[in-house]
């Protein structure tokens, strides 16, 4: 458990669904305060990689390691399972379709996990939730139900819900893809602020502007492999591979 070990590491992950191989020996490390953006055409395996790191999928080969400790392997033994459970709430995730719980108010969505999982006293959980709502500029929606909120507001609540567990790393799975352009901006603004505050983030995205200007590293995936990885804007200014160049061409009009 050396201090130089990456916060979270995908170590040679291969993932198959039946005969369909979605990831091929993908390795990716994320260190503290990194904002790693994963880009690539749809179907390239970005989301599956993220879901492996979020422990929603088990890798077919390879492993997920957090601060030097394996937390997910194919057919995990007791020790790995326990390690996975132990770091469960250190890995937060924001979904494309928000996945707020519709039968709970905004506040209830935020305090549910801290109270049930961290056994936090209710008052404390509420105080934290209120501070987070203020941060995402939704204090007035505290008692509203998700269905009453716009998509952008729902996603900001979902980010606040993830933050309520004070995760060490936050995974974003195309967090703005389901939103209209004007709603995207408010969500991206929150993500940018988190990056500024030093949150460790792994962001699967189609927002090239965010990857270029906010990301510390850009990873380009295609057909289940990492084709190219470069720090920050370098990937956009000087892509090395043909595939990456072709991919970036589609965004030139934007």
């Amino acid at each position: 458990m050396s201090s130089t070990a990456p916060l979270i590491l995908a170590d040679g992950i291969t993932k198959r669904f039946g005969a369909n191989q979605v990831l091929t020996r993908v390795s990716l490390d994320v260190s503290e305060r990194d904002v790693v953006c994963v880009v690539g055409p749809s179907g390239s395996g970005k989301t599956t990689l993220l879901r492996c790191l979020a422990l929603l999928e088990e890798p077919s080969e390879g492993r997920v390691v957090m601060q030097g400790v394996p937390i997910s392997t194919p057919a995990p033994n007791k020790q790995v399972k326990a390690a996975g459970r132990a770091v469960r709430s250190d890995i937060g995730m924001v979904f494309q379709h928000f996945n707020l719980w519709p039968h709970m108010s905004v506040l209830q969505n935020l305090i549910e996990a801290p109270i049930r999982v961290k056994k936090m006293p209710r008052d404390e959980a509420v105080a934290i939730a209120e501070a987070l709502l203020k941060k995402v500029d939704l204090s007035d929606k505290r008692d509203a139900y998700p269905a009453r909120l716009s998509g952008g507001q729902q996603q900001r609540v979902a980010i606040a819900r993830a933050l309520a567990m004070s995760p060490k790393v936050l995974l974003f799975d195309e967090a703005t893809s389901a939103l209209d352009p004007e709603l995207r901006r408010e969500v991206l603004a929150v993500m940018r602020q988190l990056a500024r505050e030093g949150m460790t983030m792994l962001v699967v995205t189609h927002e090239m502007g965010f990857a270029r200007h906010v990301g510390t590293r850009t990873v380009f995936m295609d057909r289940g492999e990492i084709v190219e990885a470069a720090p920050g804007a370098a990937f956009f200014d000087a892509p090395q591979t043909e595939r990456a160049k072709r991919f970036l061409q589609q965004f030139e009009d934007e």
Binding site: A54, L55, L56, R88, S89, I91, G92, M93, F95, H97, N99, L100, W101, P102, H103, E112, A113, R116, V117, K118, Y145, A147, A158, R161, A162, M165
Partner: protein, 229 residues
């Protein structure tokens, strides 16, 4: 218009007083109808849960039992089932079953097979993403089911359960065949003594309608509100 048959209809002398005279007798039957329906609904909800759990069991034998019960019950007529429970069960087990008990058992089993499907679709109506969000936040599978899936599933199953209650009110009239003294049976007994089937059965039909129709409308309104959320 105006053939002999129609004229005979106009000449009919209504004798509604024969019905009013036995109003209390019929209302006692209605009370019985509602009590039977309510008890049966509660039993069917429990039975439906058992069948649903059998259906979703990890063990093949249990799954097979659950599915078989559902298929047999759904694909035989309810009246035949009632007759079977009333006449066959006593022969098999050598105990006399009261008609009322037989009716409740038969109806409950029948509704349970449908209610198990209601539960299943209620649980499946909760998007997978809601459970994944719970999982990522660290909730245990039990907490996730209890706090996230169940409250939403129950909300989805309440209107169909209410519809089942309406169905039970109507199906309980089948008790008349095995002499359970609910409102239809009492109507049969009354018309056998007052010789006024038209007034008697019309009145009974109207009573059923004015209980079932408002309930059905309320359920429809309720379902629309749920969908709007």
């Amino acid at each position: 218009m105006g053939n002999k048959r129609d004229l005979s209809m106009f000449k009919y002398q209504f004798r509604w007083d024969t019905v009013w005279g036995s109003f209390d007798f019929l209302m006692g039957g209605l009370q019985m109808t509602l009590v039977i329906s309510a008890i049966t609904l509660v039993l069917a909800m429990l039975g439906g849960l058992i069948i649903a759990l059998l259906d979703m069991s990890r063990f093949r034998v249990l799954r097979w039992i659950g599915i078989s019960i559902g298929e047999v019950v759904r694909n035989t007529p309810i009246l035949v089932q009632l007759l079977w429970v009333y006449y066959v069960l006593p022969i098999v087990f050598g105990v006399r079953i009261e008609a009322l008990v037989a009716l409740i058992i038969g109806l409950a089993l029948y509704q349970a097979s449908f209610i198990s499907e209601v539960y299943r679709s209620g649980i499946q109506s909760v998007p997978k993403g809601h459970r994944e969000a719970a999982q990522v936040l660290g909730l245990t599978p039990f907490q996730s089911f209890n706090r996230i899936v169940l409250p939403q599933a129950i909300r989805m199953t309440l209107p169909p359960l209410a519809s089942n209650f309406v169905q039970l009110i109507k199906f309980s009239s089948l008790g008349a065949v095995i002499s359970v003294s609910e409102i239809t049976r009492r109507g049969m007994e009354l018309s056998a003594t007052n010789f006024r089937p038209l007034e008697t059965f019309t009145f009974i039909a109207v009573v059923y309608f004015f209980i079932c129709w408002p309930l059905a409308m309320a359920i429809r309104f309720w379902e629309r509100r749920l969908q709007a959320r």
